[in-house]
Symmetry: C2
DNA sequence: AAATGTGTACTTGTATACATCTATACATTG
DNA sequence: CAATGTATAGATGTATACAAGTACACATTT
């Protein structure tokens, strides 16, 4: 995620594979990683495996214990709330900056995504996909690489919690409405308004997610 | 920076030393790092050195080239502007959250820091130190570990540019005034106001820094 | 029986050896 | 002479061997 140009090295493949397993919860929260066993399972030596592990640690997708072991970080309601708050701040900033930089072509693109988003509001997976696409487009337009980078890290973290959330049709309609007014604010170059809409939009998503999790409970550690 | 508990390993020492050299510009922007030479200079093998390098890469304190080499990232006016913008978003969020969580004792602490800040407004180094202390206290009170973490990373990045900035007495007075109203907003639990003050405060610092750099120019790459 | 010591199995951390890849200089060719 | 091919020195990437540290079980002692 930090590399702009992912190189074709073994360590990178191991990193990708481990990341995939962590985000899919195939590697369970709380589970410990033993280097010799994992290296054997992935058919590489400990050297590239360690490199991948260290990188995942610095992205907080793995956790180094004080004693020396490495574990998959447990899930935590407090943390998911923090993640959404930071995401709100970042998307708010990007919406603000998109106002200053959006070209007519950019705004046309946003409207296009919005239409497809609207068409797919009946389908959970597709609607979600276009929501992500919209945010990605705004991030690109905003052109702040550090904001994007942090946003990507947050998204990875949140991914682990997505398995516990069920976005309702009502919520999707709400989100679509938010997206409409957000794009409108960007199109009419109202940075303060765009920033506030983006912020509140993410906070709403946070509260929805917290409700869903509170109902279900997180996995035992 | 990602490790909560820095362990006493050789790789960590190398990481710290390299980070210090990068932030102090002892390692010059654009300079390439050769593993064998650096390992010999630091009297360790390439293994812990590589671990340190990889970690610095994922913090963007080093840069992996597509071809395979590693260099100290060049300084860039565009980037410093982005960094301040993200910092503004994060400090704004933390100010907002501090409103919700600050206890009377916390507010007393903030006032104490403010007083010492005021007393030192005549001295560049000391005033800066209390400014940092104030922000750190707010970050602690806000209690959002991800916001803090990203904020720390941003601060490290900005550190490399600080060598080119000269904060004037006027600017210090302005900053102190901003800090006063910020603490006041937190004390009276006005999240929107606190968030806006923090945001604008950092944006002002950004513009001041950009002016200073524009006057001086960044090092050649 | 509880607490403490101790040994052993096993894990992590580091060094070194080896393989692969990159860049530069030089030769060759059009 | 420009452009391309090639050889070679040196870098990065990976595997393996070794050292140091940790945890768990079991024995010993009070």
């Amino acid at each position: 995620m930090a590399d702009t140009q992912p190189r074709n090295t073994g360590a990178y493949l191991v990193y990708s594979e481990l990341k995939r397993r962590i985000l899919s919860l195939e590697l369970k929260p709380g589970e410990r990683i033993y280097e010799p066993a994992m290296a054997a399972a992935l058919q590489v030596s400990r050297t590239p495996l360690r490199e991948a592990i260290r990188r995942l640690i610095s992205e907080s997708l793995l956790e180094q214990q004080a004693t020396g072991g490495v574990v998959v970080p447990p899930l935590d309601e407090q943390v998911i709330s923090e993640l959404y708050d930071v995401r709100a701040a970042l998307e708010s900033l990007m919406a603000r900056e998109a106002c200053a930089r959006a070209t007519p072509a950019d705004i046309e693109e946003l409207h296009g995504i919005l239409e497809r988003n609207a068409a797919m509001v009946g389908f959970a997976e597709e609607a979600m996909k276009y929501g992500v696409t919209l945010h990605a487009a705004i991030a690109r337009i905003a052109g702040n690489s550090w904001a994007r980078r942090f946003h990507d890290q947050i998204s990875s973290q949140v991914e682990r919690y997505r398995h516990f959330t069920n976005n309702s049709p009502d919520r999707r309609e709400e989100a679509l409405a938010d997206h409409r007014v957000l794009v409108e604010a960007i199109a009419s170059k109202e940075p303060d308004k765009a920033a506030k809409i983006a912020f509140d939009h993410v906070i709403a998503a946070r509260d929805e997610t917290l409700r869903a999790i509170a109902g279900q409970g997180l996995v035992a550690e």
